[in-house]
């Protein structure tokens, strides 16, 4: 893009995205609060978005196919967040908890 940013390579963005994705994965595995789980999923989706934009730039894609995919991922993320939060509100109304480890009714 600009002269001072010539030194950034695609591999740096790959590493950054990998780290962000793994932080999100760690959150999904570690946390028990359902809202935090949804937020960690958003974080993982965002790391993928960042990598898509990076590849669009570095591959010299004149049609911006990667950026188009980022749009669609954003749409899916918005729909997912809305439905997920609606389910969460419903669960909270029934159990007064947002702890996912209590939702084991299918286990028995």
């Amino acid at each position: 893009m600009l002269g001072i940013f010539q030194n950034i390579e695609i591999s740096h963005y790959i590493y950054l995205s990998c780290v962000l994705f793994c932080i999100g994965l760690f959150g999904v595995l570690f946390r028990r609060n359902a809202i935090i789980l949804l937020m960690c999923i958003e974080l993982m989706l965002n790391s993928v978005n960042l990598l898509m934009a990076a590849f669009t730039e570095y591959m010299g894609d004149q049609n911006a196919n990667g950026q188009m995919f980022v749009f669609f991922i954003m749409v899916v993320a918005a729909a997912e967040a809305a439905v997920g939060l609606a389910i969460l509100v419903m669960v909270y109304r029934n159990t007064k908890k947002t702890d996912v480890s209590f939702l084991d009714g299918l286990k028995d």
């Binding site: 893009m1 940013f5 030194n7 950034i8 695609i10 591999s11 963005y13 790959i14 590493y15 950054l16 990998c18 780290v19 962000l20 994705f21 793994c22 932080i23 994965l25 959150g27 595995l29 570690f30 946390r31 028990r32 609060n33 809202i35 935090i36 937020m39 960690c40 958003e42 974080l43 965002n46 978005n49 934009a53 669009t56 730039e57 570095y58 591959m59 010299g60 004149q62 911006a64 196919n65 950026q67 188009m68 980022v70 749009f71 954003m74 749409v75 899916v76 918005a78 997912e80 967040a81 809305a82 439905v83 939060l85 609606a86 969460l88 509100v89 419903m90 909270y92 109304r93 947002t98």
Partner: protein, 175 residues
């Protein structure tokens, strides 16, 4: 480390802020702090988009993620009245095993990318991320997915309203 040499300072600082905020999202005890840290993360990712020549994407990221989705999360948090006291307790062992899993995945992904041998990159045109170009591509090549996206949104909206609507009949029976 050779990985960090010759890197421009703005990129390093931005990446550092991004990763730190993401870590705080995961480790913070208070859900409100997590949401605020995630908003900061999205801001820094938007700055990365601007570095990556995706100007429109940066604005959309701010509006949709930091503006709409995160405000939705905040509203739900305050609606449910969640704070530090309602945070479920978790064992230390669980955290260690989760950290091992995520760390192993990180090692595997980065190692496979190192072996991939990516070709020499070239920069795309400057105006690729502007509304003009993106709108043209969206309305020509991606027209069918675009329309399907509308259907997905409508169904998600109807589903969310149906799920979150208070059911009066069942409420009377239970109470």
């Amino acid at each position: 480390m050779s990985l960090f040499q010759n890197l421009p300072l703005p990129f390093l600082i931005l990446s550092f802020i991004t990763i730190l905020c993401a870590l705080y999202v995961v480790t913070s005890k208070n859900p409100i702090h997590s949401v605020l840290a995630l908003i900061l993360t999205f801001f820094s990712i938007s700055a990365h988009y601007i570095l990556l020549n995706a100007q429109f994407l940066a604005i959309v990221n701010l509006m949709v993620y930091a503006g709409a989705i995160m405000v939705l999360f905040l509203f739900v948090l305050m609606l449910l009245n969640l704070d530090k006291s309602s945070e479920p307790v978790k064992s230390n062992l669980w955290g260690i095993s989760a950290a091992i899993c995520a760390g192993l995945l990180l090692v595997i992904i980065t190692a496979s990318f190192q072996k991939a041998g990516l070709a020499v990159m070239k920069s795309s045109a400057v105006d690729i991320g502007l509304v003009k170009n993106l709108g043209r591509v969206l309305m020509t090549e991606y027209l069918v997915p675009f329309e399907l996206t509308g259907i997905l949104f409508i169904s998600a909206m109807v589903g969310a309203v149906l799920l979150a609507k208070r059911d009066n009949k069942s409420e009377e029976i239970t109470s």
